[in-house]
C-alpha cells in the first residue's frame, strides 16, 4: 500500500485558466468586472444604464451568461458595444474556460481596443462565488425586494465582493427592507466593501457607480 500526497485544489483546472485570463486581461489593459446576483435583481438593467453613461468615454464589451436564450444580449446590443452571449444549458455558473472563449470573440469583433469588460454571471448567489474567472472586481447586485438578510445567508459571495449594488431603491416604501441592518450585516462580513444604492429603473445612484468604475479603470492603467 502506498500513500501519494497531492495537495491539489479540486478546482485547480479552473484556477489555472482564471490566472491565464487575468494575465491576458492585464496585458490588454482591460478592467474586468464579474457581476453576480440572484435572478431578477436587475443586473441587465443596471448594465443598460451603465453602458449609456460610460460608452462615450470607454470602449465596453459585455459577456452575458444565462442557461438559455440570448434575451439579455439582445437587450444590450448596440452598435458601439460588443456583446457575447454564453448559454450554459444547465450550468449554474460561468467558468474561466467559457469566459476565455467569449473574450476572444469580443476582441476579435472589436476594431478598437476594449477598455472595460462586464461579465454578467448566471443568476445564482452560491456557485459563482467559487469560480474565479480572472476578473479584477467582483460586484454583487441585490435588490431591495429580496430582503436585507442575504449577506449572512450567502457569506462567501458577499465576503468576496469589492462592491455591492443595492438596486430597486424606488421600491423601498413598498418593502420591509432594512437598509441599516443590511449595511451592518454586510460590513461585519466585509468591512472594506463599497456599497452603491441605486434604482436602475429611475437612474438614481447610477452615476456614483459609474464614477467608481472610471476610477478603477484609471487605477488599472496605473
Amino acid at each position: 500500500m502506498v500513500q501519494v500526497n497531492l495537495s491539489r485544489n479540486i478546482l485547480s483546472a479552473n484556477d489555472l485558466l482564471a490566472q491565464k485570463n487575468r494575465e491576458l486581461f492585464a496585458s490588454n489593459g482591460n478592467l474586468v468586472i464579474n457581476m453576480m446576483s440572484s435572478p431578477g435583481s436587475g443586473k441587465t438593467t443596471i448594465l443598460e444604464k451603465t453602458l449609456g453613461k460610460i460608452k462615450s468615454q470607454m470602449v465596453v464589451g459585455v459577456i452575458e451568461g444565462d442557461l438559455y436564450t440570448d434575451q439579455d444580449a439582445c437587450r444590450l446590443k448596440q452598435p458601439d458595444v460588443s456583446v457575447i452571449q454564453i448559454n450554459t444549458e444547465g450550468g449554474c455558473h460561468l467558468d474561466a474556460k467559457m469566459v476565455e472563449k467569449a473574450y476572444q470573440d469580443i476582441i476579435q469583433n472589436d476594431q478598437n481596443d476594449i477598455n472595460i469588460v462586464f461579465i454578467e454571471n448566471v443568476g445564482n448567489l452560491v456557485c459563482p462565488a467559487e469560480f474565479d474567472l480572472g476578473e479584477d472586481k467582483r460586484v454583487v447586485v441585490l435588490s431591495v425586494a429580496e430582503g436585507n438578510d442575504k449577506p449572512l445567508k450567502y457569506p462567501l459571495v458577499f465576503r468576496q465582493a469589492d462592491a455591492v449594488l443595492v438596486n430597486k431603491i424606488d421600491l423601498l416604501p413598498y418593502t420591509d427592507f432594512n437598509m441599516e441592518k443590511f449595511r451592518q450585516d454586510l460590513i461585519q462580513l466585509n468591512p472594506g466593501v463599497r456599497v452603491f444604492e441605486m434604482s436602475a429603473r429611475t437612474g438614481k445612484g447610477i452615476e456614483k457607480w459609474c464614477q467608481w468604475l472610471r476610477e478603477e479603470f484609471e487605477k488599472k492603467q496605473g
Binding site: 500500500m1 501519494v4 491539489r8 485544489n9 479540486i10 456557485c127 467559487e130 461585519q188
Partner: protein
C-alpha cells in the same frame, strides 16, 4: 454547490496520477474541505458513493477533513475561530481588518492505493 462535478474532478485527478504512478487500485482518498467553501461534506460523500464506479475506485473510501474558519486580526494579531453569525470582528480589540487564515480549502490531500 455541485458536489457531483467536484467529485468527478477528484476522481479524474486521482485516476491520472494513479495511472502515472503504477497504482491499480485506490483504497482511500482524503479531502480537506473548509467550512467557507460551498461544498457540503455529506453531499460529497453521496456523490462519491454514487459515481466511483467499479474499477479503480470500487473499494475506495472517502475521508473528509472539515476545516473551521480561522481568522487573524491584522491590528492586534489575535487568532480566532469565526462564529456562525460570520462576525468578522476581532473578539479582543474589535478590529475589522480580518484575514481568513483557513476555511476556504477544497483540495485532495492524499490518496492510498496498491501498486501493480
Amino acid at each position: 454547490m455541485h458536489e457531483l462535478t467536484l467529485i468527478d474532478n477528484v476522481l479524474n485527478m486521482v485516476r491520472i496520477n494513479a495511472e502515472n504512478s503504477n497504482i491499480s487500485r485506490v483504497s482511500k482518498i482524503k479531502l480537506v474541505v473548509g467550512q467557507l467553501s460551498m461544498a457540503v461534506p455529506e453531499s460529497l460523500q453521496f456523490a462519491f458513493d454514487t459515481i466511483k464506479g467499479d474499477d479503480m475506485f470500487a473499494r475506495s473510501i472517502l475521508e473528509i477533513e472539515e476545516v473551521a474558519i480561522q481568522c487573524r486580526c491584522t491590528d492586534c494579531g489575535k487568532q480566532f475561530v469565526l462564529d456562525h453569525a460570520y462576525h468578522f470582528c476581532c473578539p479582543k480589540c474589535q478590529g475589522r481588518s480580518i484575514d481568513i487564515v483557513s476555511g476556504r480549502e477544497l483540495y485532495v490531500d492524499y490518496y492510498e492505493g496498491d501498486e501493480y
